[in-house]
Symmetry: C3
Subunit: 363 residues, 3 copies
Amino acid sequence: MKYTVQQIADALDAEFQGDASLVVHAAAEPSDATATDLAMAMSPKYAEDLGSGSAQVAILWEGADWQALGLKAAIFVRRPRMAMAGITSMLDKGQGFGSGVHPSAVIDPTADVANGVSIGPLAVIGARARVGRGANIGPHCVIGMDAVLGEDAVLREMVSIGARVQIGDRFIAQPGARIGSDGFSFVTPEVSGVENARKTLGDAGDASAQSWLRIHSLGSVEIGDDVEIGANCTIDNGTIRNTRIGNGTKLDNQVHIGHNTRVGNDCLLCGQSGISGSVELGNNVVLGGQSGVSDNIFVGDRVIVGGGTKILSNVPAGRVLMGYPAVKMETFTDVYKAQRRLPRMLRDVEALKKAVSKQPPSD
Amino acid sequence: MKYTVQQIADALDAEFQGDASLVVHAAAEPSDATATDLAMAMSPKYAEDLGSGSAQVAILWEGADWQALGLKAAIFVRRPRMAMAGITSMLDKGQGFGSGVHPSAVIDPTADVANGVSIGPLAVIGARARVGRGANIGPHCVIGMDAVLGEDAVLREMVSIGARVQIGDRFIAQPGARIGSDGFSFVTPEVSGVENARKTLGDAGDASAQSWLRIHSLGSVEIGDDVEIGANCTIDNGTIRNTRIGNGTKLDNQVHIGHNTRVGNDCLLCGQSGISGSVELGNNVVLGGQSGVSDNIFVGDRVIVGGGTKILSNVPAGRVLMGYPAVKMETFTDVYKAQRRLPRMLRDVEALKKAVSKQPPSD
Amino acid sequence: MKYTVQQIADALDAEFQGDASLVVHAAAEPSDATATDLAMAMSPKYAEDLGSGSAQVAILWEGADWQALGLKAAIFVRRPRMAMAGITSMLDKGQGFGSGVHPSAVIDPTADVANGVSIGPLAVIGARARVGRGANIGPHCVIGMDAVLGEDAVLREMVSIGARVQIGDRFIAQPGARIGSDGFSFVTPEVSGVENARKTLGDAGDASAQSWLRIHSLGSVEIGDDVEIGANCTIDNGTIRNTRIGNGTKLDNQVHIGHNTRVGNDCLLCGQSGISGSVELGNNVVLGGQSGVSDNIFVGDRVIVGGGTKILSNVPAGRVLMGYPAVKMETFTDVYKAQRRLPRMLRDVEALKKAVSKQPPSD
């Protein structure tokens, strides 16, 4: 993997100055950079460290004095993280899972695998499953019966895709992602304590102890194009209809999506967040790490939710929320500040009560 | 998979009207239903959509006017979710893992696998492990040395069961479930900051920095009958005794059970909930999503806990709890409402203090 | 596995009395102990149960009257959990993964596997990966291209280690641990609602809906010596530099570590805790279960954090924290107590306002 300064600048559609023919093999932080690394010094703070490394070329902010930094060439970027997307995509060495179908893979004769698909050691492809052109399936993946995987998929090792799951193009799944586990849906023969407690908001009533009967998942999971699913995520099958993830949505590691839930397009669900069953999540929603959404809830478009937030009721579009239960971010901040003054306020109120009670009542 | 209206009504022990011989192949939501689907229209709200689909037969609520809905037959149910359990069980197409032992499975010659057990591609069965009649073991499962798996188990792909784990009959495990990981138990040679902080509720003292020594797990995991474990769950081995899960208990995805913990019968542990080590959980306990139980805690029978709740101390039987730390649901609601008025109350108290201080003190 | 009382006492560097030649095969709780078990009765409370078991030898506290307890021998320990570390290490029967390289393992011819390493069925070792002396690699593990695994590693089943990951000596990984998944890092072409909301603490602004571009992970993961990673944990690759876990650090099950994050030495991260990207965690930090650390945060040495705590800002060394957002443990306790009195205080303040308003204003 080798690129000239010219090639990188062209790919990023960025200006450069200095030696266009300088070659880089990899990216590095300024202080770690060797002479063949492209140093990532997108702000003056990072550029300070260029001196302790050996970079000859760096990514810099617009207007930076590259010569003063001792470089032979520099590429100038306006929005550093956008440049990161371009550069890291070019320089990604990947997992090296190889090409072709490994002889140890177990592929059902009725599976429809496009020509040129790469399938790693010990992967299993089920009956009538379809795998689109350009897919790269890691070792130990399992693709279930009648599942459909679009073009140019990248599955890291040990991804499992259940029967009948349908996935669009350019899908990425990190190790251990589980798509199409059965939904968590049980019922008791008679009304249960949980049903009572939900109805009364707190009273379990006198429901007797009962065992749980299983509601099977007849639905599956439908995933759009350009979706990424993180390591050890779990996405449950729907009960009757399919659980759905919209185009362009990205899930971080250990995210959980319950049965029947529909996640919109271009959402970002951060690490360990969880969505219960039968939730509607709009488009461009961002859920912070370890946040949660209660079942049967509606969350509107462009809602943004801070880390640890638990959404227990419907949220209109465009809200920014935080807390348990979720409230508007500014309410959360106000309440939080007030809370810390609470112990003192308690003492104040006690003092006030004493002071006032010593004055003659006016009625 | 085909059933007549008569067969489904019989299986559900339900009344029906109309053409008893109509055949359905699958279940569908009313608006998606084709002529061979059984439409799920258990309430008037859902029945409205029958017109936009092509269903000829539907599940309806008792007393519904099926003919006015344009159907040729209808099955009437009293408790819709109970009917769902029956119908989805009949119509579940499963994962199609096939029958018999796949030639790529690696089965120790000393393993005791009942006749007719189905074992998927690349599964591994360890030395002296016992697998009961009727088990259906998915691809890539690993069953450890001396483990015991009861009759009629269904293991989805990539389930791992550690050495010496004992599991009852009719066990279901979703993809990536881990049973019998080692407990998380470490000790420092001298008293540690954590021990100090727990004793003093907040003061880590002057304990010096130390490394951790591992306490191995000599115990294993014991699981009753009719238990289901969700995708990517983790259940740790006990230290000396076994960790235990009672009969009929169901775990959703990504649930964690610590070492030595005993979970009672017929509990429901929702997604991403976690129980620390050495906890006693009673029977018929329901833990909401992302809830947690601190270590060495006792939680009584029939306790119900809302999503996100963190239980930090013992809970008597029958309580309904919510919050962090967990309090009674009604306390949680009261405190929550009061909190939102907190910033204003702060201002009120300040104003009161001013007002009162301007009056001559009476003592 | 058989040891005499003498051998165990010697290994623990502990005093014993009675028959030095008595042989034990396993450890047990006092009430479950058979005649060949070593009963764990480290405190008078546990010793009470010796009578209901058949133990002939027990671990007791210093000064215990072993003869009155009906034993033939006793070993006396000062710090019971330290003794547990020693005893459980001696008596651990392990997973029995066998020795040598299983013929079904798929090992790249360019991999460098030390002599005598044990590799389980269906494990995959990638190109140029190096596995040190004494490693015990479980069934279904995947070790990526160019990864390095130090000496004496123990990998349970289904562990995955990505390309270029570097791990020190005496590494332990529980089932389903994922090391080297790609970081969760995305960017929109123009400023996004999240960026606005973070800057303004709550206002998403009028950013238009956009799709996410992927920032690839060029870095990998670097893990020190004596590290243990729990079942179904996920550790992400760094973007440019490596994500790092220091020597002696232990992760419980389902812990998540984001990209670029550096965890210090001898930390203890309890079940389902999560650390976002680009966090610096000091040495000897303890994170309670289900706690979380926001991205780009600094957490000092010896910080201890209770279960469920969410750290949203930098924490100086030595602090003991709890809550969401995290505050000092004693503040948490004070606020919690005050909160429960909040509904009543609201009523008090209303009453005060009425009482005071009926008095003539003094200004």
